[in-house]
């Protein structure tokens, strides 16, 4: 049997890679993708917890569906924002969108 901790470890690794990507990449689209990876890690955690700890309660699964919906709405707003910024500035590199002090 695969121990639960291994799933949590894989999820933690994916989450950490996501954090690294969100902080280190400079392309707004790439940052958004890294954030999606973080949410994906959350889902893996939730499904693993559900299967191992509370297989007879659906809370974990419902939570995964909620995270899907939230991810979709964040992407919708984020991509709209990125498109509208790109149209005027022809760049989506975050350090070029930086007129105020960061």
């Amino acid at each position: 049997m695969i121990p639960l901790s291994w799933y949590i470890l894989v999820s933690a690794a994916l989450f950490s890679i996501g954090i690294y990507g969100a902080l280190a990449r400079r392309n707004a689209l790439a940052i958004l993708m890294a954030i999606e990876l973080m949410l994906n890690a959350v889902n893996l955690n939730l499904v693993a917890f559900w299967r191992y700890l509370t297989p007879n309660v659906v809370a974990g699964k419902v939570f995964v569906l909620v995270v899907f919906a939230v991810a979709a709405s964040e992407v919708a707003v984020g991509l709209a924002l990125i498109i509208s910024i790109y149209r005027r500035r022809h760049t989506i590199a975050v350090e070029e969108i930086d007129m105020m002090k960061w």
Partner: protein
């Protein structure tokens, strides 16, 4: 599930439903008469206020514990709805002036408010997460509302990217807490921790990550980096709403999760919250000193005030003090909301059409030209510093008292010393207004003036006679989840 359950979420249903109806109605309102949409939005809020008042004092759980109705949620909902009414009144003339008047502004504002209402009565971590998103996503869009303006799009992008990043932390933390306690219901978590059926390490990391995620939302150091840029770049009417509403929403979640659901884990989060509070107060006030732009200064000021409210969390780790700590935090949230809405209102009045008039220097001579407005601003600045006879003094007094009761003398000292530091930059605004000569261009718009008048009156009135507010707050308590 019965009709009582639906009554429990009636304020939320009214605001979210009304926003959806307005979305359709707005199509038939001509572009130059969007004031009608604003008026209708306020009507919806008044109906929601009535709904909250009608069930004041009732305590119950609804929808299998998804929703909690108690004094805490009703009080916060009243605060949010009041903030909403003032925010709409402040926005109306400002949007016309900047030529970004569109009906969707009020509709998105209503949706954001509905998220805050839901947050106040969330009884399950899934609902907390959804409420955070529901209050944030409309705010991202509102920050982008002036979008041909470069600073608005920059502000929106930064707010969005950091907000989404923070919700990643929040939801990861919630997942770990779920893994540790086996439930997402707040009442279930209390029971699980009580019976020691948890995995402590997951609970520790999980609650830490929830703290990080919500720390971003309330702009606590070290998760505050986005605040000055976002507050400066967003349209000022949005900033006003964001600074007050989003922060109060974040604190609603923090207080509910940590004080009512995780008191059993207090040993873990108490040191963390203590340091966050101390750092936030210190850094927010020190960084504010060197600001020349009023929006940036108020942004750092709002960071500092997040630190003061944060003090309630480590204080609440002492069980006997916890109920008082919650009340002190709520009282401080009210003082913060009244004073800040007023101060941002003055900033709105001073801002010129092209977005200039935002330097502190531009306030020179305001004392001569518009004595009433300058007096109101002076009152707000005194209240933010915490000098009597303003409500800010009462708020700080109450909060420090609670912190001392919890035996955190040094934290209270940090609070007092940083308040003294803050006097420097708040009083500078007053000095500039009265001592320097200048010819400021000031707007005089009826709605805006009345919001400034109301908030100034509140700042003064509750500063002298806080009895009414205190009486209301004394009836507030968190629903005891472990029964």
């Amino acid at each position: 599930m019965d009709w009582q359950d639906f009554l429990s979420v009636l304020p939320f249903i009214i605001v979210a439903g009304w926003a959806t109806i307005l979305l359709l109605v707005d199509l038939w309102i001509p572009a130059n008469r969007k004031g009608i949409t604003a008026g209708l939005a306020v009507l919806g809020l008044i109906a929601a206020i009535a709904a909250v008042i009608s069930r004041f004092g009732i305590e119950r759980e609804a929808f299998d514990g998804m929703i909690i109705v108690d004094g805490f949620s009703s009080f916060l909902q009243l605060l949010f709805l009041g903030v909403g009414v003032i925010a709409i009144a402040q926005a109306y003339d400002y949007l016309r002036r900047r030529d970004i008047e569109r009906g969707e502004y009020y509709i998105l504002l209503l949706y954001s408010l509905s998220g805050m209402l839901l947050m106040a009565s969330a009884g399950d971590l899934i609902v907390v997460f959804l409420a955070v998103e529901l209050l944030s996503i409309p705010l991202y869009v509102l920050a982008a509302f002036a979008i041909p303006k470069a600073d608005s799009e920059e502000s929106a992008l930064k707010y969005f990217l950091l907000g989404a990043f923070a919700s990643g932390f929040l939801v990861y933390g919630i997942a770990l807490v779920f893994g540790s306690t086996g439930t997402t219901a707040l009442s279930g978590m209390v029971a699980a921790i009580e019976s020691a059926e948890t995995t402590p390490i997951l609970l520790l990391v999980g609650s830490g990550m929830i703290l990080v995620g919500l720390g971003f939302k309330v702009a606590a150091v070290p998760f505050h980096m986005w605040t000055p840029d976002v507050y400066q770049g967003a349209p000022t009417s949005v900033t006003s709403f964001m600074a007050v509403g989003a922060k109060a929403g974040g604190f609603a979640a923090l207080l509910r999760i940590f004080i009512s659901a995780l008191p059993g884990a207090a040993v873990m989060w108490m040191p963390l919250t203590m340091w966050i509070a101390a750092l936030t107060m210190a850094w927010g006030n020190i960084a504010a000193i060197s600001q020349t732009n009023i929006k940036r200064m108020l942004a750092y000021s709002s960071i500092a005030h997040a630190g003061y409210i944060f003090m309630a969390l480590p204080a609440a780790a002492t069980p006997e003090v916890a109920p008082e700590a919650v009340r002190a935090a709520l009282f401080y949230l009210v003082t913060y909301a009244i004073t800040n809405l007023g101060a941002w209102g003055v900033v709105l009045a001073m801002e010129k059409a092209e977005g200039s008039g935002l330097e502190i220097e531009d306030y020179s001579g305001l004392g001569k030209k518009r004595p009433a407005l300058a007096l109101a601003m002076a009152l707000f600045m005194l209240s933010l510093t915490g000098i009597p006879p303003t409500v800010g003094f009462m708020g700080k007094f109450y909060l420090f008292q609670v912190v001392i009761d919890a035996n955190l003398i040094w934290l209270a000292l940090v609070g007092v010393v940083t308040s003294l530091i803050s006097a420097y930059y708040y009083l500078r605004v007053i000095v500039v207004m009265y001592m320097r000569d200048g010819e400021p261009e000031v707007r005089s718009e009826a709605l805006l003036n009345s919001t400034i008048f109301i908030t100034a009156f509140g700042t003064f009135f509750f500063g002298i006679l806080p009895g009414f507010l205190l009486k209301m707050i004394n009836q507030v308590s968190l629903l005891d989840l472990f029964r």
